[in-house]
Assembly symmetry: C2
Homo-oligomer: 271 residues x 2
């Protein structure tokens, strides 16, 4: 099944637009996990198992693994999610961007080695830097458009040809790069007006929306701005607010409670 189909099925099956971001920071782990060689894997597996029926996708952020020499734990985590929770797509958040020959290597890393269902990519180097990922027809390619950080405006808000750069990227992806129906866009929750503008430009294309919770984005404004006519179309990501909802041995149960609350808060504004 393609990423797009898996995502649509998970939206329906779990009645959820919540994506849980797996950004494991050992400094924030509960005390009983500290010092264990496989702490990153154990922490992330527990979170995934506790929230799998509440989400439409999981999104591990590769930097949190790579900084700790934990590539093997990332491989094992994605394998675990696929085996134990089949049908839930895993998005590898790596924001890749390089020339074609190098992009082919990154595609092998993401899709072959890690078995990710989708990958985040950066549009700055243009279409031929994204094309090698699209050659993997079953996988999703999620392009940065309007990011949730303050500095996002430095380039993305520049005017070009009567519109802003992020609008140009949204149109480029919707009208050209998405010929195979594999694309989605990253649009931050911290800018609801721009989220609404991107939704207007791209029709029903899925949008990955980081920035609620720790980054301050408002759930009501996010859902009302970003939803499709059918009240769907979003992967609303929460990482820290769910991962670190508890600090003790019951961290997974606390994470589940936080995920339920976030899923329900999102669902309140879908229709």
């Amino acid at each position: 099944m393609t990423f797009t189909d898996s995502l649509a099925a998970a939206w329906t099956r779990h009645d959820s637009l919540l994506c849980v971001g797996l950004d494991p920071d050992p400094a924030k782990f509960p005390a009983h996990l500290k010092g264990r060689g496989d702490a990153i894997l154990e922490f992330c597996k527990s979170i995934a198992d506790a929230t799998a029926d509440l989400v439409c996708a999981f999104k591990p952020q590769i930097a949190y693994f790579a900084a700790h020499r934990a590539e093997a734990q990332l491989e094992a985590l994605i394998k675990h999610i696929h085996e134990k929770h089949p049908g839930i797509p895993v998005i590898l958040d790596a924001k890749r961007g390089d020339i074609g020959a190098t992009a082919e290597q990154y595609a092998r890393e993401a899709f072959e080695r890690y078995g990710a269902d989708a990958l985040t990519v950066n549009p700055y180097m243009g279409f031929d830097s994204v094309e090698p990922y699209l050659a993997w027809k079953e996988r999703g390619v999620i392009v940065l458009c309007r990011t949730s950080n303050a500095g996002g405006s430095d380039l993305q808000f520049l005017e070009t040809g009567g519109r802003k750069l992020y609008q140009h990227v949204a149109e480029l992806v919707a009208t050209k790069w998405n010929a195979g129906g594999q694309c989605a866009l990253v649009v931050g929750a911290t800018f609801p007006a721009e989220l609404a503008e991107v939704r207007r430009l791209v029709g029903d294309m899925p949008l990955l929306v980081p920035g609620i919770g720790a980054q301050g984005g408002d759930i009501e404004a996010t859902v009302k701005s970003g939803r499709t006519a059918a009240g769907s179309g979003l992967m609303i990501n929460s990482s820290r607010a769910i991962l670190y909802a508890g600090k003790g041995e019951d961290y997974a149960e606390k994470a589940r409670q936080a995920a339920i609350e976030t899923r329900d808060a999102i669902n309140r504004y879908r229709k």
Copy 2:
């Protein structure tokens, strides 16, 4: 010593603007290395040892290691270069770009785990996505500006405020992001006129120039367009044309010959 100082010292000591890109592709390795578990490390070490006195920097591309689960070999390679060829800066080519908290993890990966002297980064997410790397005061931060691939024009050539996006990035880095003198820019050799324009905008800032050799950039035009008034300021990268100059057991010697020819061809046009 800072990256900028190491680079300047290597330019002078080796009378070379050549940067050798370490993009190991096992499919192109000589037959006697194939099947060895440490083939990537052995291949890259041999190339580095054979060319170290001819270069101003080495630039391993992380995708070529990550696609083959060869992170440990990348660590060992950079350690080897630092120990055996002290003073030659190693640029980790990873083109990172993410929000601050994630960029802190990528900085740990590049600078602490791998011990790289500099890292390539993507400007699309703006200043706060680059700031965490700049907190490592001795390290260099090399920002994508005008890339060598055909699709580079998709965004970088858009007009904004009377100039093109890549010009805006060049000015932004030169006037704001480079307050600590840690920055350099990536400008492809395939566009000499734009290389000259960037040089005009950024003064003596170092420029990393990929795209000669396999990508078709012309050495004379590159050097004449990109050199500083003192005939320096460039890291002119060559990867495939040097790594795969030979196909047999003498591949390192063939790589050395190719590196000498490239260094000399560059030096012919510096003054």
